[in-house]
């Protein structure tokens, strides 16, 4: 993964990208700056966790779908077993996805988790259990999204390879079949 955004095209969905980044940055900014303005921990906790939860929802349901075409969810089948589902768009539209969008998506996803870990270590050193609670909740939400989407992506690549090899095998067998019918 490179450090610079791919050049040569603009963001295809600027509004979605904006919202994708907005809530993450908002949660982090509020967490950092609130100590200067608010005395009450309750407001800090509620607003930060609320922004983090909104960000989780936006990433999972909106920007994941639109920026990178991936989606994951959990279902309970008739047996009462829990099944995790991972879904992606087909290969053609995946290839058509804007590179800049997906670069932004993945980079901000990983970066926020790293920053939250950093804050967690900070509050651990200072023995502030309250703030550790906030960081813990936000970190859990970020990591859940990362794990879900990374699983989508890995399986997407594997499925693409399988599909490619399957179509090649079938084309091959069909050409052999046609060769035999000619004979």
């Amino acid at each position: 993964m490179d450090l610079n955004p791919p050049s040569g095209e603009n963001y295809a969905n600027p509004r979605i990208c904006f919202f994708h980044v907005l809530f993450k940055a908002g949660a982090l900014a509020f967490y950092i700056l609130s100590a200067l303005f608010f005395d009450s921990f309750v407001i800090i906790f509620v607003v930060t966790v609320l922004l983090s939860a909104l960000d989780f929802w936006v990433v999972k349901n909106v920007s994941g779908r639109i920026l990178v075409g991936l989606r994951w969810w959990n279902e309970i089948d008739d047996n009462g077993e829990s099944v995790w589902k991972f879904e992606c768009l087909d290969q053609e539209s995946l290839a058509r996805m804007n590179k800049k969008d997906s670069w932004l998506f993945w980079w901000t996803l990983y970066l926020t988790a790293v920053v939250w870990i950093f804050f967690g270590i900070f509050s651990l050193i200072r023995f502030q259990a309250d703030y550790l609670l906030v960081v813990g909740v936000c970190l859990t939400l970020s990591i859940a999204n990362i794990v879900g989407f990374t699983k989508c992506r890995k399986d997407a690549k594997k499925q693409i390879q399988q599909f490619a090899s399957q179509t090649i095998a079938n084309r091959f067998s069909s050409t052999i079949q046609s060769a035999f019918t000619v004979v």
Binding site: A12, N13, S40, F41, V42, F45, V46, V49, L50, A53, W57, N61, V62, R65, I66, G69, R71, N74, E75, I76, D77, D78, N79, G80, E81, S82, V83, W84, K85, F86, E87, C88, L89, D90, Q91, E92, S93, R96, M97, N98, D130, L133, C152, D155, A156, K158, Q159, I160, F163, Q166, T167, N170, S173, S174, Q177
Partner: protein, 278 residues
């Protein structure tokens, strides 16, 4: 569901569909057309084998190792049928996908509405009397954690507002108590050999907090001690009544009390917290 059914019927079906799939693929002459993102009628694929579903490919073949389960996921299909007319130009990149719907391409507002209606329906299922209560697995099929999240935060906020001193600590304690309590209670049920899904149980315990939320709100508005005790007792009984069938169905009948007692204990302690706050 007898074991025999699973062994005989689905195996024939899946092998037949495999043959059809392969025939279809062989008979394609040109490059495969871009199929619209299908809501693949998912054969439920357990997590150990590949759970991946690419949207336009025919569903991957059943692996005969796992017992085949009849594909019945009504939720997705309902949503996709509703979204047939909504898959319009909300997203320029994906307009090549024709009329077939998929929640992958639905407008954002639909997602919001779907989630909100799910919260409301889960709440109604859990807290109010309804015919599904005897079958807990079916009732909270569509678990979600947003409802519990809002209820826990609301309860913490109300308790914090009611407190005249140490507001922040009250909130933090209430939140931590409820969150870790829910996790520990779930682990308790699982360790007692119960059959319940982790997130489903968390979701349930969160939704059962709704009566206590209402009680705490009333107690905050009216500061009479007798009224508080009455209200808390009523809402506590309501919460316990809501949680009872799910927990008791999940475990062995001889261990019902072991699973239920901690749940009741937690709700009673929350009730005391509501009464004792001044």
């Amino acid at each position: 569901m007898s074991h025999n059914e699973r062994d005989t019927v689905p195996l024939n079906q899946s092998s037949q569909s495999d043959i059809d799939e392969i025939e279809n693929l062989i008979n394609y002459s040109g490059p495969t057309t871009v199929l619209p993102a299908q809501p693949s009628p998912p054969p439920t694929i357990p997590i150990s084998s590949s759970p991946f579903i690419p949207s336009n490919l025919p569903p991957p073949s059943q692996k005969p190792v796992q017992p085949a389960v009849p594909p019945a996921i009504p939720i997705n299909n309902n949503n996709n049928n509703r979204n047939v007319n909504n898959n319009n130009n909300n997203n320029q990149q994906l307009t090549g996908f024709g009329p077939a719907p998929n929640t992958l391409t639905e407008p954002v507002w639909d997602t919001v509405k779907r989630d909100l209606s799910r919260i409301v329906s889960n709440l109604k299922l859990v807290v109010f009397p309804n015919p599904f209560r005897e079958d807990p697995g079916k009732a909270l099929r569509d678990w979600d954690l947003w409802g519990p999240f809002f209820f826990i935060v609301f309860l913490g906020l109300v308790l914090s507002w009611s407190a005249s001193v140490k507001k922040s600590e009250v909130f933090a304690v209430a939140f931590a108590l409820l969150a870790t309590g829910a996790v520990i209670l779930t682990l308790n049920v699982l360790l007692l050999g119960g059959h319940i899904i982790f997130f489903q149980s968390l979701s349930l315990l969160g939704y059962c907090l709704f009566p206590l939320d209402v009680g705490a709100l009333i107690c905050m508005l009216k500061d009479n001690v007798i009224l508080k005790i009455v209200v808390v007792c009523v809402t506590l009984a309501w919460s316990s009544w809501a949680a009872y069938p799910f927990i008791s169905m999940a475990v062995n009948p001889r261990r019902k009390a072991l699973a239920l007692y901690p749940v009741l204990l937690m709700y009673v302690s929350v009730g005391f917290l509501i009464i004792a706050i001044d």
